[in-house]
């Protein structure tokens, strides 16, 4: 479980944080509502999840709420039997 969460967290840090960003993020940090990931760049995260876990996330599932924290994303992956 924590392997998957850690992999997602690591991806988010590399993909969305700039070198000068000082704030630490964890599994509960709000990503979309916290302004770290906007709805447009969320697509990169979707591409990463689909490629890494060989799934297809329909738009109805890839919502800002479902992507709003690493824990939420993990819950979403569990629906696709990824755990």
């Amino acid at each position: 479980m924590s392997d998957i969460k850690n992999a997602i967290l690591e991806y988010i840090k590399n993909e969305y944080l700039e070198d000068e960003d000082e704030d630490e993020i964890d599994f509960d940090t709000p990503l979309i509502s916290g302004g770290i990931v906007d709805s447009f760049s969320m697509v990169s995260l979707k591409v990463f999840l689909e490629t890494s876990y060989k799934i297809q996330l329909p738009d109805s599932k890839a919502t800002p709420d479902a992507f709003d924290s690493v824990n939420n994303i993990y819950k979403l992956l569990k629906e696709f039997n990824i755990q």
Binding site: E15, Y16, E18, G34, G35, D38, F40, S41, V43, S44, V47
Partner: protein, 415 residues
């Protein structure tokens, strides 16, 4: 009655949510032509006030230029008010073709197609040329109209960190298998006033066999030595495959936009771009005005040179006064205040002192990056800028932010 109370309440609640989140937009009524000084009625119903305009996209000061107005009149007299048609049925006049040719020459491309706006050009171009087998890779700070255009297109999407070429290259490597790849960027980014690293982008595009899309709306007419835009500034004229730009900013400021670039891309837009196919042609009066604008700026660089001088004066003066501004070369100069309320309070003080500038905050800009965006024009004279500076300094002293670092301002007001 179809519009029942419960329907009205749902919509009212949504409006209340917008008000509560602090992003409710109110129009300010201008009672004069667009210029460096305008008469404004704000809030609606209050007395009219003469203010210096520091928030228009009237970069070259051509919006109310007498020669442009005269040419627009001629267009009205000789080609009529409207055409009551889309372009491909009976909405194309000789002057539409003339304007397309002049834009092609000015931008140094192969061909050009007019759209009712650049918003429409961006909404239509991707869907017209790309399919599921293709990928669009966009800078994260591209304009909202590009985001919408990408969403309307079936091609795959990805993004890269703003102006981060290492990240862009990673994405190009990741997506090498796609049929067509397009790197998508603004030329001048409208909220930060910085320019795309277009020379590096072209280099990467050549290395990975990708096309380059450039929205140069905030650059056409004044960036680069002869105003040809970001492509001229970065010395890559002729290497950009798709340029979209607007006639609604520096190029006369009325309306209209275009896709200019490789002839096959332009032709596909004529065949398939829905905003071109299904909305009315640009009215003759606007086309004639825009033709005159291109004639003026093709003859002399006087106006863009004055804009550059104004920009240098304004950037230098703000820094010397102790404000934090975003680095850049463009006439978009964001004065950083970091705190949302502070940006609104200062904008209000400026307005009371005769300066019209707008404060922006999250979600329009990232959290903790609230600012007042100032925009220069060739229509400004130094006395306008001196008066604006005086008002900024007065506000800066009142809120004690002059000479303070980002950290100090955030400590005082929060982010």
């Amino acid at each position: 009655m179809a519009f029942q109370d419960n329907i009205r309440n749902i919509l009212k609640n949504e409006l209340d949510d917008i008000r509560d989140s602090g992003i409710f937009k109110e129009e300010r009524i201008i009672c004069t032509p667009q210029s460096s000084e305008v008469e404004v009625e704000f809030p609606a119903g209050s007395g009219k006030k003469n203010v210096i305009n520091m928030c228009a996209n009237n970069y070259l000061g051509l919006s109310s230029h007498p020669d442009v107005i005269e040419s627009a009149h001629k267009g009205l007299d000789h080609r009529g008010y409207g055409l009551s048609s889309v372009r491909f049925i009976c909405g194309t006049q000789d002057i539409h073709k003339e304007l397309e040719k002049k834009l092609t020459k000015f931008l140094g491309t192969e061909d050009t197609i007019l759209f009712p706006s650049c918003m429409d050009a961006n909404a239509g171009v991707f869907e017209a040329i790309l399919s599921e087998e293709d990928i669009m890779i966009a800078d994260r700070l591209v304009h909202a109209s590009i985001v919408d255009g990408m969403r309307l297109c079936k091609a795959q999407r990805d993004t890269y960190k703003h102006s981060n070429m290492t990240h862009l290259e990673e994405k190009l490597k990741l997506h090498q298998g796609y049929r067509l790849k397009v790197i998508i960027t603004d030329g001048s980014f409208s909220m930060d006033g910085d320019l795309a690293k277009l020379d590096k982008i072209v280099e990467l595009a050549e290395k990975y066999g990708a096309m380059v899309f450039l929205d140069d709306s905030h650059a056409s007419g004044f960036i680069g030595k002869t105003g040809r835009g970001t492509q001229e500034f970065c010395d890559v004229v002729g290497k950009i495959d798709i340029i979209t730009t607007t006639l609604g900013k520096a190029l006369g400021g009325a309306s209209g936009g275009c896709v200019s670039g490789r002839k096959e891309i332009v032709e596909l837009c004529r065949q398939k771009a829905r905003p071109y196919l299904f909305s009315n042609t640009i009215p003759p009066v606007v086309v004639s005005g825009a033709i005159k604008v291109l004639d003026i700026i093709s003859k002399t660089t006087e106006r863009r040179d004055k804009l550059e001088e104004n920009t240098n004066f304004w950037r230098k003066s703000l820094i010397e006064a102790g404000f934090i501004i975003k680095d850049g070369e463009t006439p978009i100069v964001p004065v950083m205040l970091f705190n949302a309320k502070l940006s609104q309070d200062i904008a209000k003080d400026l307005y009371n002192n005769g300066i019209y500038a707008v404060g922006f905050f999250f979600p329009v800009v990232p959290k903790g990056q609230a600012r007042i965006r100032t925009q220069l024009s060739a229509a400004h004279d130094i006395h306008h800028l001196e008066k604006a500076l005086e008002a900024f300094v007065k506000a800066g002293k009142k809120y004690d932010i002059l000479g303070k670092s980002k950290k100090e301002i955030i400590e005082m007001y929060g982010d």
